[in-house]
Symmetry: C2
Subunit: 296 residues, 2 copies
């Protein structure tokens, strides 16, 4: 069994996979690929024996699902970034609530304590976001998810209740995967449902939100504040240049929540990915198997 990895594994990660051969330059005999999603397209043609893909990223929306040979199983790295991304989501929420680094004295501060938090997508990140809201700010926590990974939700709802939930939430955090069910979920109609003086933060993927509709709502509703770590892809690449930076009710970060901006986070994430591969090769199943049909 040969594993092909697009990243040179560190000592600790290599040790986890010591029972298997790991190649960094030849995928021709590889049955497992360890890669970032967008790297997979160019590997596929040169990996005829491929059985499993394990991504380094939590999101797998960048994978070429339509080109995957039938029977190839995909495993995401969901959960590997829960702590840093949840911290990051709260950084955006709080910066918007308190208008950090905006020098006008007339900006209103929004209070968080005992307000209502809505978490949209309650996997590893969303569950940690909920736990912080509950423990730090005694918030009432609403969750929207297919499956809940924690006990920190006061109410559990399904995605078709979103309009009503948005009208109740003082803070909402989007931590959904991007797939055929969630793409463009936040269009003009949905965004218009948000409560007066509320904050929304997106740490999922930009394309969950319709960019032009967001701009329209932010211009119409100066009381509504929006933050994002993720930006819309143009020609396949995230484009961080955006008119939004000039909006007074917008704050952002250029996709720095995850592995790119902290060495420790990156190494932990790689380690989780290789551990999952080890579990898979040892037991035949592993965490975070992706429902391929969600993306087709």
């Amino acid at each position: 069994m040969i594993i092909y990895s697009t990243l040179k594994l560190g000592e600790t990660a290599r040790e986890v996979l010591k029972e298997w051969e790991v190649s960094y330059d030849d995928s021709s005999d590889a049955e497992v690929i360890l890669a970032w999603p967008t790297q997979v397209t160019q590997i596929l043609d040169r990996a005829p024996k491929l059985k499993y893909i394990q991504t380094f990223s939590a999101g797998v929306d960048g994978l070429p699902f339509d080109k995957l040979p039938k029977g190839v199983r995909v495993f995401s790295n969901a959960g590997a970034y829960s702590l840093p991304v949840a911290e990051h989501a709260w950084a955006l929420v709080l910066a918007l609530a308190k208008m950090v680094n905006r020098r006008e004295r007339n900006a209103q501060s929004y209070m968080l304590t005992r307000k209502t938090l809505l978490v949209i997508g309650c996997g590893g990140i969303g569950s940690k976001v909920a736990q912080i809201g509950k423990s730090a700010f005694s918030m009432w926590v609403l969750g929207v998810s297919r499956s809940f990974k924690s006990q920190d939700f006061d109410e559990r709802h399904s995605i078709n209740e979103l309009p009503e939930l948005l009208s109740r939430a003082d803070v909402s955090v989007i931590s959904l995967p991007l797939n055929k069910h969630t793409r463009s979920l936040f269009d003009y109609k949905m965004l218009s449902c948000v409560k007066q003086n509320s904050i929304m933060v997106n740490v999922g993927r930009a394309e969950l939100v319709v960019e032009d509709d967001l701009k329209k709502v932010l211009l119409e509703r100066p009381d509504f504040r929006f933050g994002t770590d993720v930006f819309w892809r143009k020609n396949g690449r995230e484009e961080f240049e955006s008119e939004l930076w000039s909006y007074p009710n917008f704050m952002g970060t250029p996709h720095t929540a995850g592995a790119d901006s902290n060495r420790e986070v990156f190494e932990e994430a790689v380690l989780q990915a290789v551990k999952n591969v080890r579990t898979l090769l040892t037991t035949g199943s592993a965490q975070n198997e992706v429902k391929v049909e969600d993306y087709l």
Copy 2:
């Protein structure tokens, strides 16, 4: 017994003091003054019967202590702003940790989970800051204080241990009152003790920190990030214009943590002040009596 208030009290606040006469224009028979500290100087000469001062603010450093008639007792509004100011402190900490609204992709994110938090001044604000750090981010919490108001401290220290504590803390939050013991505490020597890749936030008073020394350390240590809600007074007024805004490792807000930026916070704070006056007039003692000698 006549109470003189510089603020017209709302209905709820007035109800709390219904047993006493409240004047808004004549202090000549007043035994109690309800005011912001800087308003007191001009009232003193026209309040010959003065016994008690209750401030609307938590800090009393703006009072003319040297001009107070002997025997006048002073009560601060400490605690009234604990929740909003603690939220605000965390907004600055997180914004600096994640470099919110800085568009450079190369800025390093600092992780908070399981790191060390140092709270300097553990009254109402500091205790809430500690509780958030512990519950939201599982931090190890060091406290420096004369008296501790909560159980959320893993270690309790005195102010003379500050240099060593600063060298251990990944995040430090200053929530001290400004008095003769604390003014200019954070000079070049003290600030130079901070740990590599650490964050310091000041929500007390600017003059706890020596402005020029701070600038020097921020220029020398790009890894050190500093945030403040409070600015140095020039000619008696907080001056929000500052070179610091242009520093890449600085973030701020123009004293918007407290009463000025949220109506609800303001009304709650006024209510706490009048309740304290009620307690004082009914029982002869009350919360937050100020040690006048700390300021002389």
